[in-house]
């Protein structure tokens, strides 16, 4: 039994683990891959953190303006105010932020107004992940690598642990905990094109949803305009912010940016673009397309990361704390991951009410075992893959950058039908060790569940706001200025709108 169990080893999860550990809790971190293999390491964005009070006000205002009335203002204020301190802390712990002299530099990122993004060349995500991982090692957090969380253990209305599958052996285990922090990231694999990693399967969101937690802001799916064609690589908003030109489906450096500067600050971009597309960006434009990059909603949580289930917390991309509202700014995503991770970790450690070691975990595990054994025996592989591929194309076409009632209804219906097809499928092999067919089947399940909440939520919002663009309702409707919650019902995703404050 641990005091705090964190699920997910990216920036939010690592930060949560370090915070909870620092508050005196015993902490376990459960991750699908080694933490420094998480999606977070690919993020080449910066971290918005102005170093003055006026700068901070500007940051708050820009964030609220982008969020188009749906931000939770108190969350925005709180995170923006702590941004500079958060960056200083990361710096003290070892993130080698770029500096001018000895002052941490602030650079512009595309679409976010003033120069307020702190950064580490084009490897901010990698550097922050490594640094937080080092803190996890240094402080003695117990790390469980290559475990996939399958179900939350809820006892008497409280979350008291997680049932997880060890990929190497196929063993199922119940991890008891006094508090659980979900930090599993997004669900990019439900969209194509996207900036996806393989593990972006929306698992934490699906787990919380299945356990009865409320989701929020699920209709807001943000695309990034400069994803290298045919790949999942997003060209850094710092590169665009520095003056690279995005036009006619390509990103161009020559003529606008000094080669020496590009080579010094974006070496990992140049290298990967050349490897992935054969283009030398110093002399040729790189072909790009728009790709899904970020879910703005997630598990409905407050500023402390508390969900509607006591003992269950969420942080990072799988959490909907209302910071971004209807549209997120570049430079704010890593900020929210680190900030929300910290507050959820602290809140989870403070939660620590004494939960007696019960039998709920073991019971939940045996239930999951029975389901898994049945799934192992059912056929899988190609038909599951086909479902996932179809989902990604369906979501992009019907629930992507441009939406309408007809397409969204179709998507909801089709996803419900796909879930029934999915239920007839399985792993395609009874192997226990490293059964990726089983993983694929389970991930398709979480993707379908979360995708349905996105389509249903987008169908319900009959207006255009932020990144939610309805061709049949192209204007903002002032009467729809409240956030939408999604909960699970017998008939599928049920969408409701917050009453009262907008």
């Amino acid at each position: 039994m641990h005091d705090v169990l964190v699920v997910g080893g990216g920036i939010a999860g690592l930060r949560a683990a370090v915070a909870a550990k620092g508050a005196g809790a015993s902490v376990a971190l459960l991750t699908q891959s080694h933490p420094t293999r998480s999606y977070s390491v690919t993020v080449q964005d910066g971290i918005n953190a102005p170093d003055s009070a006026e700068g901070c006000d500007g940051h708050i205002n820009d964030t609220l303006a982008a969020g188009a009335g749906l931000n939770v203002a108190s969350v925005v204020t709180s995170i923006c105010r702590e941004a500079a301190a958060l960056v200083e802390e990361l710096d003290r712990l070892g993130v080698p932020f770029n500096r001018v002299g000895s002052v941490i530099d602030r650079a512009p990122v595309s679409g976010a107004g003033e120069s307020r993004a702190t950064y580490v060349n084009d490897i901010t995500g990698l550097a922050v992940t490594q640094t937080l991982y080092e803190q996890v090692i240094g402080t003695g957090v117990d790390v469980y690598e290559e475990w996939l969380a399958l179900s939350l253990v809820v006892d008497g209305g409280e979350c008291v642990g997680v049932v997880a599958l060890q990929l190497a052996t196929g063993a199922l285990e119940a991890f008891d905990a006094k508090a659980v922090v979900l930090a599993t990231g997004g669900l990019r694999r439900a969209f194509e094109p996207s900036t996806s990693s393989l593990h972006c399967s929306g698992s934490g969101i699906a787990l919380a949803y299945r356990a009865g937690a409320s989701l929020v802001d699920m209709e807001f799916v943000q695309y990034y305009p400069a994803v290298l064609s045919g790949s999942h690589l997003a060209l850094s908003p710092l590169l665009l912010g520095a003056g690279a030109v995005l036009e006619d489906g390509s990103v161009r450096l020559n003529g606008t940016l000094d080669s020496a500067l590009v080579e010094a600050r974006f070496p990992d971009t140049l290298h990967r673009v050349e490897a992935l597309s054969g283009v030398n960006m110093l002399t040729e434009p790189a072909p790009v397309q728009s790709g899904m990059s970020r879910l703005l909603g997630g598990v409905d949580v407050n500023v402390h990361g508390e969900s509607s289930i006591p003992g269950l917390f969420a942080a990072g991309e799988c959490a909907g704390n209302g910071f971004h509202g209807a549209q997120g700014l570049n430079g704010n995503f890593l900020l929210v991951s680190a900030a929300s991770g910290r507050s959820a970790g602290l809140a989870a450690a403070a939660h620590m009410r004494s939960v007696a070691e019960g039998t709920a975990g073991a019971q939940a595990a045996s239930g999951v075992r029975a389901e898994l054994d049945a799934a192992l025996a059912r056929p899988g592989g190609a038909p599951v893959s086909a479902l996932r591929t179809e989902l990604a194309s369906l979501m992009h076409q019907k629930a992507g950058e441009s939406r309408d009632a007809e397409g969204l209804s179709e998507a909801v219906q089709r996803i419900r039908a796909m879930r029934e097809e999915h239920a007839q499928l399985g792993a395609g092999s009874t192997a226990r060790d490293f059964n990726f067919g089983l993983v694929q089947y389970l991930e398709a399940g979480t993707l379908l569940d979360v995708a349905e909440t996105i389509a249903a939520s987008a169908l319900e919002r009959t207006e255009s706001r932020g990144v939610h663009r309805r061709t049949d309702h192209p204007e903002v409707d002032a009467s729809q200025g409240a956030r939408q919650q999604v909960t699970r019902s017998e008939d599928g995703a049920r969408v409701s709108r917050e009453t009262g404050a907008a």
């Binding site: 891959s33 690919t42 712990l93 770029n98 002299g101 640094t131 240094g138 990693s197 393989l198 592989g381």
Partner: protein
């Protein structure tokens, strides 16, 4: 394009057992994406790692057609030979299943040894210049290709290897860290920085140009500046280092006689030990009893040494604290 993946499943590296999988993919698709497609549509029990698909997570390292690669950064078209891509584990790494390496043993346990987070020293404002080495080391994705190329790991899996020592470098050169001396001492233990044979293979193998061998050499310099001269208490090596430095800094040239004597423990002890060798050298005309004439340029060399010592005075003081 029609590709046959000959995928090693069982057997040994020398006598591999392959299973063939055919798939039709565009030539510009990465090898990793193609392998994932095979696994997803043909055989879910195929065991290999990988996540990000854009060369940052470092998880998809494999041997493809005999070359060791981060497989999401190479294309099917350029990798295949006559439509075939043979997939094997990388060399030296123990295998859990198929081409799934035991990365805990091969890499992570070693990296974690040196990964203990920064202990903030609350020190001076740090400049961009000072942080460049840290930033360089942090570009490391821990893909393991440097360890795969390492000629020491080839014969001794216990050697920490360039990937883990890159992590040590990252801390050894971080001006914000408060326990540099302790880290350098840890890195100087058996299987650490002093066991590198500087064959430069790691630098050759790093796909991201981080030059891990150089980083190990720089870490050694750092250790020397902190008074650690050889690692794990090998007194003879320490005396050798001191004698070498004394000869160059004092005379401006390498006096092999005095270096040999001091290395073996001074005039008497060293004299006895090196006597047979000295006599042989005299007989063959390779040594002389006459005093050395003054080397041209020796004063210049001494000056360079002085300048080096002055420029490192601050560091030496820091280490004495």
């Amino acid at each position: 394009m029609e590709i046959t993946f000959k995928f090693q499943r069982g057997g040994t590296r020398a006598q591999p057992e392959y299973v063939d999988y055919q798939i039709d993919v565009p030539p510009e698709m990465t090898v990793f994406d193609a392998l994932v497609a095979v696994r997803e549509t043909q055989d879910g029990t195929l065991a290999f790692r990988g996540n990000c698909s854009v060369g940052f997570c470092g998880d998809c390292t494999l041997s493809v057609n005999g070359a060791q690669k981060v497989t999401c950064l190479v294309t099917v078209g350029k990798t295949q030979k006559d439509g075939v891509i043979t997939v094997q584990p990388i060399r030296y790494a123990p295998v859990e299943k198929d081409v799934m390496h035991d990365m805990r043993k091969f890499l992570w346990d070693k990296v974690d040894t040196f990964a203990r987070g920064v202990v903030p020293n609350g020190g001076h404002p740090v400049t961009d210049e000072e942080l460049r080495p840290v930033r360089k080391a942090m570009r490391c994705t821990t893909c393991g290709l440097c360890d795969e190329g390492c000629t020491v790991i080839d014969v001794n899996l216990d050697f920490y290897g360039p990937a883990a020592l890159t992590k040590l470098y990252r801390f050894a050169f971080d001006p914000r860290d408060g326990i540099t001396a302790e880290r350098l001492r840890e890195g100087s233990e058996l299987h650490g920085i002093w066991d590198c044979v500087h064959c430069w293979e790691a630098t050759e193998h790093c796909p991201f140009g981080l030059e891990p061998t150089h980083l190990i050499m720089d870490t050694r310099d750092r250790a020397i500046a902190y008074g650690i001269k050889s690692g794990y208490g090998n007194k003879m090596l320490e005396r050798h280092y001191d004698a070498f430095e004394e000869s160059i800094s004092g005379k401006g040239w390498l006096d092999e006689r005095s270096v040999a004597l001091q290395t073996y423990g001074g005039l008497i002890k060293g004299g006895i030990k090196t006597l047979p060798l000295g006599l042989r050298a005299l007989r063959k005309g390779k040594a002389t009893l006459k005093p050395h004439y003054k080397r041209p340029g020796a004063d210049h060399i001494r000056k360079i040494f002085d300048r080096y010592n002055r420029s490192n005075a601050g560091l030496r003081k820091e280490k004495q604290r």
